[in-house]
């Protein structure tokens, strides 16, 4: 199981990294989404994996609970990355509407040379 | 005044039931809370639901639902057989146009939903003036029969319910 989770994190990370290195804003958004999935799973897995041990206290059974803290951290991370993604989407739109295309690289505008 | 408090009384009732299903426990507190929400939520959403749909014979819905469930079970098996055993080339799909006598949007919606939920037929389009329904039939050699069945089996009953 650990192997599956670890490899899934790896695949998502690799995919995300590849996409954020593209030249258009849209694949970069996709890439960042993949990366954020990856990091969320990564964070959850820092509490180690446990099956059917949700951290909901149960008085009636002597059950074990998985580590709740990473889950709380991931929740915070998800929310934040949602806000960030939304802003990024808006920035993409803004840049696209202002510049006319959605390339993410800025071509340097050649200015007059030399200061004498 | 009453319309303000209960813009959609049936909805309020449904919501109370939904609440009880959600909390999964019937206690006085839950009924109170569910009732409260059943009143508040429709008030909040009433701007989005102008008008109140009329049900002429609400109790006719029960046999209608039972009928539909039965049809679902039977048709499911038929369609499963088609999918599993009928070669692709032998599946004869047809478009069926169902002219509608129903005018209430709610009734049309229920009819179209029924058609879709009963396997073998899918409501695909409504004409833009809402007078006919385009149904896709997975396998039939008698499109007119399908149309007639829909009109008699479902639409007629819905007409009774919605008036």
């Amino acid at each position: 199981m650990e192997l599956l989770v670890a490899s899934a994190i790896g695949v998502l990370t690799a995919g995300g990294v590849y996409l954020i290195l593209r030249l258009r804003a849209f694949p970069v958004i996709l890439g960042l989404s993949l990366l954020s999935y990856a990091v969320n799973i990564f964070l959850v897995s820092t509490g180690r994996l446990a099956i059917n041990a949700p951290p909901i206290l149960n008085k009636y059974a002597d059950v074990s609970y998985t580590d709740p803290l990473p889950q709380a951290l991931v929740l915070t991370a998800i929310v934040i990355s949602f806000g960030m993604t939304a802003v990024l989407v808006m920035f993409t739109l803004g840049a696209y509407l202002e510049a006319g295309d959605d390339t993410i690289d800025m071509t340097a505008t050649e200015e007059k040379d030399d200061a004498a | 005044m009453l319309k303000r408090v209960f813009p959609h009384p049936l909805l309020s009732l449904t919501l109370l039931l939904v609440w009880l299903m959600l909390v999964n426990k019937v206690t006085p507190g839950n009924i109170l809370l569910g009732g409260f929400l059943g009143i508040v939520v429709p008030i909040l959403t009433s701007p989005y639901w102008p008008g109140r749909p009329r049900l002429k014979r609400p109790f006719m819905t029960v046999p209608y639902v039972l009928l539909v469930i039965w049809d679902i079970i039977v048709a499911n098996i038929q369609v499963a057989l088609i999918i599993l055993f009928k070669p692709r080339s032998k599946i004869h799909s047809k478009w069926v146009v169902v002219p509608l006598d129903l005018t209430s949007p709610e009734a049309i919606t229920v009819l179209a939903g029924t058609i879709t939920m009963t396997p073998g037929t899918v409501s695909a389009l409504l004409s833009s003036d809402g007078t006919s329904l385009l149904v896709h039939c997975l396998h039939t050699d008698d499109p007119d029969g399908v149309r007639d069945e829909i009109k008699t089996r479902y639409e007629a009953r819905l007409k009774e319910i919605f008036g």
């Binding site: 960042l32 059974a61 990473p70 951290l73 990024l88 803004g94 800025m106 004498a116 | 909390v23």
Partner: protein, 532 residues
């Protein structure tokens, strides 16, 4: 436990929504509220700095939970100093924004500004690694908004790049924090300082990765090579007051590096010992070089200033890299200096560029008040380039003095001295182009000057005042260098005696039983029966 510690966070956090939602249609009201809030922040920060000067580590346990289980705010000399620096800068920059009308050029400036302050102060005050991430995000997202305040094509594109870079950085931050937690089981920085050294040498691999990833995260903020690339585009294209405020943002990264590498990964922590020393120094060296080269290469004023910021970060981080008290002290002095001088340059550039019409370093007719601006530019530039008599020179001397390790010295000294020279040359070229050569530009007879309509007005006293104030602060920092470094020395010493911090944070607290009643669990848990 004094509630004042959290005031620098809560005050702007309460004011911002009021400004953004209640006063969003009334710019005057928003200005008054924003200014009042910032003044209050400044006064509080001053009070906190005075309080922290007693040498204690003041801990604020949020939610009344003991550390390391809850989140704590920690006020020591360093965090107090950073908050005060933030508040001071904020006040001056806010003045400029209002005086020049920048704040009215787009929506929600003041709300975002207050949120920005909240994020920065929160980052400086927190004693929790994950909470640091949260406040990084707060300050970042507010900065995104400020960065593209009033819009425009190039600004939007640059803003997009800024956002993308930082989102990648935030993701890395989470990876790093995850690794940290996975190896130590804690998030509290003081607790980390206890746990990290306990990790066995045979099992140091993972925590080392965590440390190095965190380092890179903070290097992004501090604009160090190889993650400095975002800065020129951002600072050059941000609205000038925002760029001036951003002068403190790079310091957040520097602060985090200083904090974590004197606490969680303090020099005595065996597993992570060589992580920072291996990478930070060379990174700072290259940063310094790139900054200087960029200043020399710049064809426009704003990139020039941006690169000078990069160079100053390189210089400063050279002094952070050895992780020793005296070097840290000098780094802190340089930190304060470079914040004010960068801000002064950006604010001044705003006054000039808005009248000149362009920041391109080419020959075009002089702006009104050429002499005044030239003088101010000269002063700010020599501060930034580290020429006397302003604090830059003293800062540079201090750092040179601190970097005497035989393996560092030749590099550091050469880098700093040559870097200064190149920076001076770059600034001289730019200044002589804008303020001197302009006076020889004559419009051909009969051609109408291409000017905005109406022609740019001379800067009013209120517009120039913020620059003057920043320069006065630099003078003050130079004249009062003794007391200032005295405070910084105390701050550095406090950092390098982490036991005070750790003990204060992790001190056991008597916690009153919170539950007033203890009903059966199933009252709270409607599903309890099912699970049985």
């Amino acid at each position: 436990m004094s509630h004042w510690i959290i005031a620098p966070v809560v005050l702007p956090a309460m004011m911002a929504p009021l400004i953004g939602y209640v006063m969003r249609h009334d710019i005057v009201l928003a200005r008054v509220a924003s200014a009042a809030s910032t003044v209050a922040l400044f006064i509080i920060a001053l009070g906190l700095a005075v309080w922290a000067a007693d040498g204690g580590t003041h801990v604020y346990r949020l939610g009344d939970w003991p550390a390391p289980f809850g989140i704590v705010l920690v006020l020591d000399r360093l965090s107090a100093m950073m908050v005060l620096l933030t508040a001071t800068l904020a006040l001056i920059v806010l003045w400029h924004s209002i005086a020049t009308g920048w704040d009215a050029k787009g929506r929600h400036f003041h709300a975002l500004y207050q949120f920005q302050l909240m994020g920065i102060c929160g980052a400086f005050l927190t004693g929790d690694a994950f909470n640091l991430f949260v406040f990084f995000e707060v300050l970042l997202i507010a900065s995104y908004g400020l960065m593209v305040h009033s819009g425009g094509k190039v600004r939007m594109q640059a803003g997009l790049q800024y956002v993308v870079m930082n989102l990648a950085g935030s993701t890395l931050f989470l990876f790093a924090l995850g690794t940290m937690y996975a190896t130590t089981g804690t998030l509290n920085m003081a607790d980390l300082a206890v746990k990290v050294p306990q990790i066995a040498a045979e099992d140091s691999g993972m925590v080392r990765v965590a440390a190095v990833l965190l380092l890179i995260v903070f290097m992004i903020k501090a604009a160090l090579f190889p993650v400095q690339f975002w800065l020129p585009g951002t600072y050059s294209n941000a609205p000038a007051p925002v760029a001036a405020l951003f002068a403190i943002m790079t310091k957040v990264g520097a602060y985090a590096i200083i904090r974590l590498h004197t606490l969680a990964f303090h020099p005595g922590a065996e597993p992570t010992k060589d992580v920072v020393t291996t990478w930070l120094f060379p990174a700072a060296m290259v940063t310094l070089a790139l900054g200087a080269l960029g200043v020399l290469a710049a064809k426009r004023l704003m990139p020039l200033l941006s690169f000078s910021v990069i160079g100053s970060m390189g210089t400063m981080m050279l002094a952070v890299a050895p992780v020793d008290p005296y070097a840290t002290e000098t780094a802190l002095y340089y930190l304060v200096h470079s914040t004010f001088s960068a801000a002064a340059l950006f604010l001044l550039a705003d006054l000039v560029v808005s009248r000149r019409g362009s920041d391109v370093l080419d020959a075009r007719p002089p702006v009104v008040q050429n002499g005044l601006f030239a003088a101010l530019f000269f002063a700010a530039a020599i501060a930034m380039a580290g020429m006397p008599p302003l604090s830059g020179f003293l800062g540079k001397l201090l750092i040179l003095d601190a970097l005497r390790e035989p393996e560092l010295m030749p590099w550091a000294w050469t880098g700093i001295l040559v870097g200064s020279l190149v920076t001076i040359v770059g600034f001289a070229r730019a200044g002589s182009m804008i303020f001197w050569k302009s006076t020889s530009v004559k419009l051909p007879e009969g051609t109408e000057p291409i000017q905005s309509d109406p022609p740019p007005a001379p800067a009013r006293g209120t517009e120039v005042a913020p620059v003057m104030m920043l320069l006065a602060l630099l003078v003050g920092l130079a004249v009062l260098a003794g007391p200032a470094t005295g405070y910084m020395r105390a701050a550095a010493n406090q950092l390098f005696e982490p036991s005070g911090y750790i003990d204060s944070v992790l001190a056991p607290v008597e916690k009153p039983e919170k539950a007033k009643a203890d009903p059966p669990l199933d009252a709270a848990d409607p599903h309890a029966e099912e699970e049985h």
